[in-house]
């Protein structure tokens, strides 16, 4: 696979783009997902319905379509040019939030009632109870599904090539078309995805064990 050596800078650049979009996506998804989960649990009927539409849109349509919608409609609607990578960040963040909201809400509900009552009984406000009692426990539970989300998000970033972003997959496509060494190129690209995901899974595993509450096994 010597021929690949000269393309390494290109592959590295693509890889870094993929990593950036993935990390930004899951982190933005986490923050927004927490807000959506809290909104859904406490916001009342109207807010809950709006959140439901949001979640259904992002879970119920292909991410490629979502990328196209944002990529083509924002410049038209807002009459401004937008960098494709910005579209990537936004769409993957919004998309991940829709999935993460479900995990976080489920985890919050599982610790919610007793712990909330106990927290109120010592004089904490609802917001404090969520911050200091419900969320710290819910986020621990959410780590394993979070791993799945990370894994699937990483792979779906391959769709970025369709809005002309040079991600890892798009680097592979270019190299394969220039060299005609299709099998080797794509195998190498797949290996990079595999390694990156494995490393991240290992890190999450270590984190999960580190924050585990002594004495109880947390089950997701």
């Amino acid at each position: 696979m010597d021929f690949l050596v000269k393309y390494l800078p290109l592959i590295l650049e693509g890889f870094l783009t993929t990593v950036q979009v993935t990390l930004f996506g899951v982190l933005m998804g986490l923050g927004l997902g927490i807000l959506l989960a809290i909104g859904d649990l406490y916001g009342g009927k109207t807010i809950s319905t709006i959140i439901k539409f949001y979640v259904e849109f992002f879970r119920g349509s292909p991410i490629i379509i979502q990328l196209f919608i944002f990529y083509f409609s924002i410049p038209t609607l807002l009459n401004m040019l937008i960098d494709p990578i910005t579209v990537g960040f936004i769409v993957f963040g919004l998309n991940s939030a829709a999935y993460q909201k479900g995990y976080i809400k489920g985890a919050m509900e599982s610790v919610y009632e007793d712990q909330m009552t106990a927290a109120l009984s010592i004089g904490l406000s609802r917001v404090q109870a969520i911050m200091y009692v419900v969320l710290p426990q819910a986020l621990r539970i959410v780590i394993p599904p979070w791993g799945n989300e990370f894994c699937s998000l990483t792979k779906s970033t391959a769709a970025l090539l369709l809005i002309r972003i040079r991600d890892l997959t798009s680097a592979g496509v270019s190299i394969a078309s220039w060299t005609w060494r299709v099998l080797e190129t794509y195998s190498f690209i797949a290996l990079i995805y595999l390694l990156w995901i494995s490393i991240m899974m290992k890190i999450l595993d270590i984190l999960y064990n580190k924050v585990k509450i002594p004495g109880i096994e947390i089950t997701a």
Partner: protein, 250 residues
């Protein structure tokens, strides 16, 4: 005449068609120990929760040192900080150590500086003889130890009154003993308490007044001696007979 710490007037709690609490009026004075007992499902816990404003009463008023808590616009968080509550199923915060459980309210509700909160939390744990276990998590403690932490958590803020909802009924007889010992210590110190319990020897020893509760309301109330010798209502008499028989068996 001692001050009235907590009072409820014509309190009702209705869930759909079920009347859980029916027109209850009660006052608890400084240093009082009231003991409520009665069949399960009779609304004792609901009453305690209404008094702590953990559920909103349907009708009637609750007063804490003369301040009406059932009026709209009252800061309930502030009021709850002055009421200690001990739960039947304990409900410690799983992710915090014993110390963390006690400290949380001191830090976030009373806003004490870290060092002072720590000292006061340790003091509260000392009072329930749990100092040695301060750095253990709830799941690493026995039920009795957990409940003593629960009591420390409720008392650390020096509440005006502490409500205890069957603090020993989820524990086996051996563990019950250690919690009862803790409560006895508190009673000696003059802590104002409303205790829901069926620990009759303990009740006889510490209660200033016993209240027999059934079908959501107070059926009979009086000195412990009254219940142990000659309750006037049939229902109380039958219930006492059963309880005493059970206690002897144990």
């Amino acid at each position: 005449m001692a001050d009235i710490v907590m009072e409820c007037k014509n309190l009702w709690k209705i869930y759909g068609k079920i009347v859980a609490v029916r027109d209850v009026s009660l006052e608890i004075k400084e240093g009082d120990i009231k003991l409520i007992f009665g069949p399960s499902g009779s609304g004792k816990s609901t009453l305690a929760r209404c008094l702590a404003m953990l559920t909103t009463p349907t009708k009637g008023d609750v007063f804490l040192r003369g301040e009406c808590l059932t009026r709209s616009g009252v800061n309930l968080n502030k009021a709850r900080a002055r009421i200690g509550f001990v739960f039947q199923h304990i409900w410690l915060f799983h992710h915090l150590t014993a110390l963390g459980n006690v400290e949380l309210g001191l830090r976030r509700v009373l806003k004490l500086p870290k060092k002072e909160a720590r000292e006061r939390a340790m003091q509260a744990l000392r009072e329930v003889k749990m100092e040695e276990w301060a750095h253990h998590y709830p799941a690493q403690l026995s039920g009795g130890q957990q409940q003593r932490v629960g009591i420390a958590r409720a008392l650390a803020k020096n509440p005006d009154i502490t409500l205890l909802d069957e603090p020993t009924s989820a524990l086996d007889p051996e563990l019950t003993g250690e919690v009862i010992d803790t409560l006895r210590d508190l009673a000696k110190k003059g802590t104002t308490m409303l205790i829901i319990s069926h620990e009759m020897p303990f009740a006889r020893e510490v209660a200033d007044e016993m209240i027999f509760f059934d079908e959501g309301t107070i059926v009979e109330r009086g000195l412990p001696e009254l219940f142990f010798t000659n309750p006037s209502s049939d229902r109380a008499r039958r219930f006492m007979a059963r309880l005493i028989k059970r206690t002897r068996r144990e």
